[in-house]
Structures are given as structure tokens and as C-alpha cells.
Amino acid sequence: MRHRPRPLTEQHVTPESLYLTRRHLISGLLGTGIGLAVGDAHASLPTGAVLHAAHNAAMSVSAPPNSWDDITTYNNYYEFGTDKSDPAQYAGSLRVTPWTVTIGGEADITGPVSLDDLLKPHALEERIYRLRCVEAWSMVIPWVGIPLGEVLRRFKPRSNAKYVRFTTLNDPTQMPGERSSILHWPYTEGLRLDEAMHPLSLLAVGLYGRSLPNQNGAPLRLVVPWKYGFKSIKAIVGIEFVEREPRSAWSQANPKEYGFYANVNPAVDHPRWSQASERHIGGGLFAPRQPTLPFNGYAEQVADLYRGMDLRRQF
């Protein structure tokens, strides 16, 4: 299943025009709530530096990706505010260059690494993944990134490293949302080492063949497509190999509602809403809800990681 980077040819890079052919209805109800359901006539084009990434079809879903607008204006990123539109509006204050990631904990190689050095040995690839938010909405997103496991292996984790802990930047001057204590800052997340090493786990640096917009987690974010979106931590400055299950921001905030594993599971409801189905963003007002799939449709690849576990208890 390991992806071997292929030489980059024109046809591997998904043409922008193809991305843009879909018309996207209603980004939200306007004004007083009864705005008309009109398609936005001028969907914005992807922006940001062009990245050279080979499309990894084996690791991609065939569903059409959401529009650039959907993906970059409907975000949960509390470091910039709690409204879906806040990150797009306020993430401009984040400075993503230069960027340093500190590797720590139970590994032979630790210390600060510049983002360039972290990425350099790896070929970027494009993967189209489903994203399922714990709030019961979903999107399909063409990420550009590198397999997390390949990056982690370079630092030679020791045998007692059982988990990986990730940390987001903690700087309220750049991330105004961190001034209010809605979550415990910095945002932290964690994966079991075998989850982190799974070929689907991705460190993303781009979107639609462009460098990642700030509101989507620039310059470096995690993407774990079989888990609820909050596991996919953004603006990563720390990666640490640890022995014990690390704290995860949401499960610390409300352990009854958000677990450490957070695997997408239609059979385990959130205490306040059903997880059996999801609203696909960009489908328009009258698109039917979609059934939610176990492990967000990635059960075949990842279910083995959880064999023998009671997923109702370890949600």
C-alpha cells in the first residue's frame, strides 16, 4: 500500500478547471435567515503557492471534492473564533514562515526542525479524503501532504514510544481565539503509534495543489480521515513520542462527549445528537443526508487497528 512517488506529469495534477466545474449552492442562509438559495456566480479560485504533488489515486476516494470556497470558509478552528466563518476572516494574523517543529520524547533524534527540513526528504502527494466532523457534517477534500509514518520513522522512535502527541502553536497575538479559555491551550492531540504509522495518516501542507490556507491549518496539519475532524490538529509546532495516552484537547474539555479515539462511528451517538448520518456540505439545501460509514468509509483499511476493543466504551 506504500505509495511510490511517480514522475510528475501534467495528467497527474488535477486541473483546476476540473475542480471548478461544480456549481455550489448556498453557502449559508443570508441575513435574516431566509436568503435565497442561489448559486454563487463567482466561486473563488484556489490561491496560494502552487505545489508539485503527484495524485495518489490508490489513496483517494472517487467522490468529487468540495469547492475551494466550501473548504476554506467553513472551518472549525477555535484558535481564530468559534463561528465557522471566523477562521477565514481572522487567520490572516498567523505567520507561517519561518516555521519550526520541535520533535521530542522517546526517539533517538529529537530537537527543533525547520518545516523545510521536515518536508525535504519526502515527495508531496495529493490524496482526496473524506472529512467527517463530529458535528455531523462532511466534505471531500483534496489534500497535499506526506505520509505521517514516513516522517515519524526518520526520528527513530524508541520501543517504549506508544503514542504520538501533537501540539498547536500557542500564541494569542497570532491566534486571537486563544485569549478566551473555551479550550485548554495549546490545542493538543494524540494518536496511538500504530495509528500514526498507518499509511492513511497524512501530514498535510496543501489543498487543491496549493499551499494550505491559514484557516485550514497552515503550514502543517494532521489529517486522519477515519477519525472525527477535531483529531486532525492544525498549525503543528510539536511532535512528541510518549509512553502514555496523551491528552487530547476536546476529550479534556468534555470527556463524556469526546473520546481519545474519536473514530467515526455511526453506531455511537454523540450524547446530544445522532452520528448515524451526515450533512454533506455544498450539496445544497435539499440534498439528502448521507448515511455515515464506520470509520468514515475507511473500515477496510483501519478496522484491524481496533480489533478486540469495545468501540462503544473507547469512542
Partner: protein, 163 residues
Amino acid sequence: MDQLGLWSLRLLLITLCITPLRQLTGWSPLQRFRRMLGLFAFFYVCLHVAMYVAVDQRFNWPELWKDLTQHGWIIVGCVAFVLLIPLAITSTKSAMRQLGRQWQRLHAAIYVATLGGCWHYYWQVKRDVRPPLAYAAMFALLMGWRIIHRWRQAQRLRVPRTH
């Protein structure tokens, strides 16, 4: 979805602003807007509920039933909604006339419904409770003003004026 719920609650609170505003400014034409605003609020709540039933849940009755029986915040929302129905029905001039003093008492249910709306909102929020608390504070302010106003009027009636 979000906007309709928010506008329902906003309109309920705006409706509750009318009486204090009239009492403060002494401008009685304001009172005529109260019924209209109340009906607007009800209209938005209807849209909000219709949106939930038709668009969010797509008439999935088993799922709707599950929501209604398992989730407290949906139950609270429904109580608030049900409370508003008789108020909308009795908002005509003739109903007002027929009910007389009863009308006042019946329409005090808007206080309970608005409280329910605030609670429903607070309970539904994922993490950031500041906006629902702001709405609840607004409601508390409006209710507080009413209580103080009543109390002052009662005082005025009790104490004989000495000019």
C-alpha cells in the same frame, strides 16, 4: 439552520423590549409593533422547526422521534414552540377582546417560551457558551426591568402622595 434559530430568539427578545421601551419613552404607538414582532418571532420559530424537520432530518420520523425523546435540548425547544402556538392563535383583536384579562395571563407564556429558547440554545452549543449566555443575560435584563417596574408601581400605589 443556525440563522433561523438565532433570529427566532432575537425576535422574541426584541418583542420583549417593546413594553420596557414604551414605559421608558412614554411613546405609546410602540405598543402596536409588539404583536407584529411577536408574530414574526413565531413565524421564524416555525421556519426553524420546519427546516429541522424537512431539511436537516428529511422527515426521517424514527430519527426525529429519537431526537425528541433522547435529547433534552430538543425537548426544551419543543416546549417553547408549543407554548407559542396558542399565543399566535390568540393574537387577533377579537381574541384579545374576548379573553380580556385572561389574554394578559395567557400571553405571559412568552416569558417561559423565551427562557426555553435561551436554555435550548445554551444546551445545544458545543463549547463556546458565551453567545447563549449573552442572550440569556438580555432576557434576564428584560425580566429584571419588568420586576422592578412592577415593584415600583406597587410602591407608588401604596404610599399616599403628599403634594
